[in-house]
Symmetry: C2
Subunit: 385 residues, 2 copies
């Protein structure tokens, strides 16, 4: 078996444990570090702590738990997050101030610290650089995810590997998403931060599952430097590719989802306008339910585009639908030319692509999402209890 | 039987017919007129025509059809909308330029003009001022609505009555909503327009069913002047009340909805901030599914508030849940004090109220929405076909 993600990166060891709803992941890797966090005004205590820690620009390890988000828990929640870094620090023999911490799960409950301490003790001596270890690490952070998410980008001189969890509350500007990305490239803290911000902007921030934004989102990247120096451009493109591979998996695994939706908007006056339109389409419950029902209701796509707050001429646009291999035109330069039967057929698979040309410029952007199903309602109608 | 809406207003006659999916409503009333229209960049041809007509400040009649939105139909669609005003004009003996027109239904299809002409002929001589007539008028504009929507506000010296249809695509800034409101007060076109804009802002624009915005929304108000002059303030408050009664019915009848959700945000620095937070909460699929599941998941309410883009101190806010008669505190000044069992009980009815105090000012606003159910997904997964 070959590595699927973080353990392919030199200098990274990991392990994870999951007991019912409650999981714990430990990752050990020394290096420069950068993070991107939720923009929600209500930030969970572990996020507050991480924001402080990441300023040092270095990280030795990460401890992350699933099952309880430790969010909206005030001073006690902050102390609990500090305690988590303490457990990891003492078990792994590193400074607690250099241990990153993340939590995901139910909001408004306190952590079960004894449980976390016990789990930490149980796995700390098992951390390793094996395919099994990275699998356990990816599985232990899952909440309503239906599959663990790995990505690996291997270049001639360096590797980038990442694990992530997503599912509900994934929104523009991130949802309850944890992403732990590692590279053995030698990258300084500042360029690492710059590359991660741009990659996040173009990938994770363009995934929409239900438009809600979590209090706990983190994307963290650590560079162990064990493979030596790299060119910034090559590195940042590879990092973006790794994030994109993770982002698509998050979208495909949206709560209750049966289909991945990918919307590419071209011909925009700038990338921001293209992204705004793509996101508005991917966020539309009417588009999402139409994809679920394999209903090529292109009117909903165009109506969503029309309310994105971006200027374009509705009579100049073109729209295609695709299953990833062949494109079917629905509207060309404002003329409806949909062959609805063919269009419907192209929606039978697990992936549905829309390509919308605004005919208003040269820039483009892509956003990812999923269909809206009865199962989404079921999952979210009864979560607390 | 007593009047429920428009026919209570002196000078208003109406009628409607519904044949399968295809309905037609005619309303005859001479007076000053004002309208508020969709802000979607993609506007249906009847909207383009209405925007032109309303500038005259007078209206003699309205013709509205359901089943086909005549949207994204270009030049031919515009000509078809003009044709509709022609049918109504010749049957009712008024200038076609003074006939308002509206359409609701599927996007991207041409009108069946012969059908509309036949329906118009069939009902034009039946228009009347009876309870039956206003009922038929309200029923004929329904699409996926499950009940006709009437509102009536009676003051000592004047009345305001309205009918509306809503259901899907109801969004901030209106959805496929048609509202026809009449008053016998004597109000000039300009103050009428001002009062309607403000009322729409505070009522229809704060109804969110699925966050999508239709290409066809119209709120129209005609003043027949038969009851004489009124004070502007008294009139505008009564108009707002009438619109609020209609807006709540639209929210309660959201596609697949089982519960009305009303969110009131108090203690905001201005009304706009309060409205922004209220809307973000009411729009959240996680809040909507929690209400459906009678799950008092207050964390989702606060997480939604946190991403509304409005500044407040998360540790100072208070949150209550209510069934309309009693309030249960969930969070008080940042402290969680939820009695989840009691809170859950208060969610058993057809109406769920959240009251959120931001502790950041003195202004407030209310928004209306509904829960998100499996039925919503069913209805919208198979609409075109």
């Amino acid at each position: 078996m070959t590595f699927r993600s973080i353990c392919a990166v030199k200098g990274v060891k990991a392990y994870g444990i999951k007991e019912g709803k409650f999981g714990l992941t430990l990752i050990r890797a020394s290096g420069t570090a950068a993070g991107v966090f939720t923009e929600n005004l209500v930030k969970a205590p572990p996020i507050e702590l991480m924001r402080k820690q990441i300023k040092k620009g270095n990280m030795e390890a990460v401890i992350a738990n699933s099952g309880c988000a430790n969010a909206y828990t005030g001073k006690r929640g902050y102390d609990d997050a500090v305690a988590m870094t303490g457990y990891a620090g003492s078990e792994l023999g590193v400074e607690p101030e250099l241990v990153g911490v993340a939590s995901t799960g139910v909001i408004g409950r306190y952590l079960d610290l004894p449980l976390i301490q016990r789990q930490c003790k149980a796995i700390a001596h098992k951390i390793d650089r094996t395919t099994e270890a990275e699998s356990f690490a990816a599985e232990a952070i899952m909440t309503t995810d239906t599959f663990p998410k790995h990505a690996l980008v291997q270049k001639e001189t360096f590797s980038i590997g990442g694990i992530t969890k997503g599912s509900g509350m994934i929104a523009p500007n991130m949802g309850t998403m944890l992403a732990f990305i590692y590279t053995d490239a030698d990258v300084g803290a500042r360029p690492l931060s710059q590359a991660l911000k741009q990659a996040t902007q173009r990938t994770f921030n363009r995934v929409v599952v239900d438009g809600d934004m979590s209090t706990n989102d983190i994307a963290l990247c650590t560079a162990t430097a064990e493979s030596g120096k790299v060119k910034y451009t090559e590195f940042s493109l590879a990092l973006e590719e790794c994030c994109r591979l993770l982002a698509r998996q998050i979208a495909a695994d949206g709560e209750g989802a049966t289909k991945l939706i990918e919307v590419t908007v071209t011909g925009a006056k700038d990338e921001e306008a293209a992204a705004k339109v793509a996101r508005t389409i991917i966020e539309s419950p009417l588009v999402k339910t139409a994809v679920y029902g394999e209903d090529p209701n292109w009117g909903r796509v165009i109506a969503a585009a029309g309310r994105a707050g971006v200027e374009f001429d509705p009579n100049a646009i073109s729209l295609w639908i695709s299953n990833g291999t062949e494109r079917y035109p629905l509207v060309r330069s404002g003329e409806i030319i949909a062959d609805l039967k063919k269009a419907k057929e192209s929606m039978h698979g697990k992936k549905v692509f829309f390509i919308l040309d605004l005919a208003a410029g040269k820039e483009e952007a892509t956003a990812w999402g999923c269909d809206l199903t009865e199962r989404y309602v079921e999952i979210n109608g009864r979560y607390t209890t």
